[in-house]
Amino acid sequence: MTHNQFLYSGILKEIARLQNEMSRVFEDFPVEYDYPPINIWNNADNVLVHVEVPGLTAEQLDVTVSGETLTVSGERKAEQIENAVWHRRERKSGRFSKTIRLPFPVEADKVQAKLEQGILRLELPRSEADKPRKIAVKTA
């Protein structure tokens, strides 16, 4: 096997592994959930919370964090168009509030939030006090 072929099969394996992981991750879906839909990702230091809020602007969203609790609330206003005839109305509107428990307490003042393509992306760093600490072993 040449170097390139080896590299290629390695990449394919990696792709297959990622696909497996993705399909496993997205396989078991709750049939019902409160609006808006939310995904939670984490590693040892951070938790990422992604919220689907198409059509909402940053001003219409409110995010509050306290310890291990995160609340995302806001209002999705229904289009008020004078003299409009409605043929179909499937998009949700009105006030919403969703509270979730995070995998660990976070530093509330270090939370970053951005809104892109209708997805709110929050990055919440784990609180320093909650992080596992390494204890130096002294030699006698």
Binding site: L18, Q19, E21, M22, S23, V25, F26, F29, P30, Y33, P37, I38, N39, I40, W41, N42, N43, N46, V47, L48, H50, E52, V53, P54, G55, L56, T57, E79, I81, E82, N83, A84, V85, W86, H87, R88, R89, E90, R91, K92, I100, P103, L115, Q117, G118, I119
Partner: protein, 139 residues
């Protein structure tokens, strides 16, 4: 429900097309992606019909509108993916391809369909063809 309503409202300007046939002949290119049915609002004002389609996670370049005969198909590919270096602890939404088809009736101007994507919402603007005002001279 909608299918039966369709029969009653044959002359509706925009009605949903059940795209089972389309689905079979045209599978999603990347089979790993789920097919998602986006929520749609349709309203009309001053001879203009607006379709508002929720497509969170879709970039401008990933939206495709195709008009085949009288069927308008709206497709958007979500670029949402697993963040590198993170494991998933809970999930309620997934990446995929949003797709929906609508049948336009003869009153819609097919040459002037506009679409605009903002904050994960695609707005499609359809204009009604206004009856041509040919004045018939009475002698």
């Amino acid at each position: 429900m909608w299918l039966t309503r369709n029969k009653e409202k044959e002359n509706e300007t925009v009605r949903e097309t059940r795209d089972e046939a389309v689905e079979q002949s045209e599978p999603i290119r990347n089979e790993e992606l789920s097919r998602l049915t986006p929520n749609v609002d349709i309203y009309e004002k001053d001879d203009v019909i607006y379709l508002a389609v929720d497509m969170p996670g879709v970039d401008k370049g990933a939206v495709e509108l195709t008009l085949e005969k009288n069927v308008l198909t709206i497709e958007g590919r979500s670029s949402y993916s697993r963040p590198e270096g993170y494991g998933c602890s809970y999930a309620e939404f997934r990446p995929g391809v949003y797709r929906r088809s609508f049948t336009l009736n003869q009153e819609i101007d097919r040459e002037n369909i506009e679409a605009n994507l903002k904050d994960g919402v695609l707005t499609v603007v359809l204009k009604r063809l206004l009856p041509s005002k040919t004045k018939i001279e009475v002698h």
